[in-house]
Symmetry: C2
Subunit: 387 residues, 2 copies
């Protein structure tokens, strides 16, 4: 096999564009100097546009989990009751964080692979006026579900003042996000998914309503205190030493997204989802999620007559292709293909071309090229045929 | 379109592997120091293996054309008569160099797109005992022909002592080359094709018989004097300041080829040729060359009912895919796809996937996925079906 070729199509970390890689190898600068302030001033409006908010977006040097923890420790405190909607492995992470802080939570479990039901949550919240905040997930990375957070927010707001906190780690930047318009109170994402960077930065934006809660919240926190980030951002700086090379890369990644145009970025992700799903459907390989619930950034495939792990191994061995396996009770039962960030329809065609060969090698009786043709037709229609 | 994605599939320069790119950004070192000598000592045996020779392989900091010029000025002098076999635009380059040096040449023109005929050359040389050297091309980049230089060499040696000089720029490293065994006297290649580097280095190897001629040749030359390169290489150094970053990259590229195993590298190139040719044949798009004459590194396609340049433009616009057009009288009439160096069967599947979409966009009535399926079948058979 061609040495040095690794084709990375897991649902994050995602590949880094060459110009972002080059930007990250710029010489180090002082983080309290004018150059850093200028850079933050250029970055900030672009980040706000991606979050769909006029509020500040905190840039924290940490993994995405720290962003989720920041959401928890800034908006709730022991004694508060929260609701966690669990649609997969990452929804579950909110419960683990709440546990660590002795925060009482109620949980609604949704079958893995299905999206949350806004009306059901609305009814639940109506019956539980004690709920101060609702934690949910935008794209559930472990299942490839995109939850209808806009509908959730609108439904809940009819009956409750609970804050809507959303983990958007594996989709913000690849999927339209309109915090202000939709009434989302806290949105978290990470650098290593649709934002085309290595892991190491997490971003947290809060609504005006959330900032009121955050300012009054007595829950002890220091590094993850969002007020510090916001107050420093307003002075074009950061509370602590930031991962400067990641900021260099962030600026270039945001420039690339502007160059393509953010609406086009979102359309590309939807198109890649439709091409991927269409190919597997044409090949009659079951998908984990319904078309309505599928995420534009990751697709989970649930084979019913071959071994998911064996299939992944074949693709790795033949082509150096990395796709992800399942998590939790789906371990060994699904494969997950990331199509986010620095990934194009041409890359999806390559994935499908390899997948078809992998299916033959694992013993499936498929028509070669059939999945490719389905993806190509969807590309040529710029969306699902007859949509 | 995804910003920052350029898919480079011209017949050179070819893409650079990430580890080669990283190697090239090592800090500069002194070219007369021990580190450079150690590096040259590690590089040399690997280069010899690629050329299939026990002789030194000169590493010249220059473009491939300088390597061709070095071949000319080292083995012939004004007054000598040489034969140039022209199978395309690059064969023609030898005549231009001979002209510049007032070297009398005879030429045999082979129809562009066809390979030279060893028996015809043998007969010609037999009738022209004045010929001191024969200049030919291994892979003719402008047409995608691989000339049978082994057969040429064996045929000519039966009737003549003329030196066999071969331009191997667009294939050495991707196609088996056995200078010593085949009796090739001078072989030239460049860094930017199958060797996976940027342009800037050219390599020239000579047989024992050629070195005798080179040593006695009174043709004036300085920078391109092969003796200087050989004599310095024997002392693990170079006659002039070398392009050190390209040498860093060269060592890593050679390591990658070793890691894959040289025979596997050659097999991969043949497989990529067969997949590419098989796809176009399945789609009933004419190829310029016959199966027997096709090169493992580049395939020329000669559409008979659509515009080649328009097709290239569509692929560039849709996917950022660069393929080459024609040269000379084939300008506007063919497209050339490079599948050499840092290119894998997975990349060929991607090319075919894009090509099929391009064909529909240019108005061809094709069955989508048919070319992909043909390439996949060839991949699964690890070669042409029923071969």
């Amino acid at each position: 096999m061609l040495a040095d070729q690794q084709i990375l199509r897991i649902p994050g970390p995602s590949p880094i564009p060459p110009s972002v890689q080059r930007a990250m190898s710029q010489p180090m600068i002082g983080h309290r100097g004018q150059n850093t302030s200028d850079m933050l001033r250029r970055i900030t409006p672009k980040l706000k546009r991606i979050f769909g908010t006029s509020q500040e977006v905190a840039i924290i040097t940490a993994s995405g989990t720290a962003g989720l923890e920041a959401a928890v420790v800034n908006v709730v405190k022991p004694g508060d009751v929260v609701l966690v909607i669990v649609t997969g492995a990452f929804g579950d992470r909110f419960t683990a964080i709440c546990k660590a802080y002795n925060i009482s939570y109620q949980r609604i479990d949704v079958e893995w692979g299905k999206a949350l039901n806004p009306d059901a949550i609305k009814s639940y919240v109506q019956e539980h006026p004690e709920i101060k905040a609702i934690f949910s997930t935008y794209c559930e990375t472990s299942t490839g579900v995109l939850n209808p957070i806009k509908d959730l927010s609108e439904a809940v707001q009819q009956v409750s003042e609970a804050l809507i906190v959303v983990d958007g780690v594996s989709c913000v930047g690849g999927v339209e996000t309109k915090m202000d318009e939709w009434g989302i109170d806290v949105m978290v994402t990470g650098s290593q998914k649709a934002l085309m960077l290595p892991a190491g930065l997490t971003f947290v934006a809060a609504s005006a309503r959330a900032w009121d809660v955050i300012e009054q919240n007595e829950q002890p926190r220091f590094y993850l205190d969002l007020k510090r980030y916001r107050d420093n951002l307003l002075k074009d700086t950061t509370p602590f030493t930031p991962a400067l090379s990641l900021l260099f890369g962030l600026e270039q990644a945001l420039n690339l997204m502007d160059e393509e145009d953010l609406d086009e970025v979102y359309k590309r992700h939807t198109l890649m989802m439709e091409m991927t799903r269409g190919a597997f459907q044409a090949l009659e390989i079951p998908l984990l999620t319904s078309d309505a619930d599928g995420s534009p950034t990751v697709t989970a495939v649930k084979p019913d007559d071959f071994d998911a792990e064996e299939f992944r191994k074949i693709l790795k061995k033949e082509f150096g292709l990395s796709i992800a396996g399942g998590q939790g009770h789906l371990t060994g039962k699904i494969v997950r293909i990331g199509h986010m960030g620095y990934c194009s329809p041409a890359d999806v065609l390559q994935i499908i071309g390899m997948v078809e060969i992998g299916l033959v090698l694992i013993g499936k009786d498929i028509v070669l090229g059939k999945g490719t043709a389905a993806a190509q037709k969807i590309y040529l229609n710029q969306g699902v045929v007859n949509k």
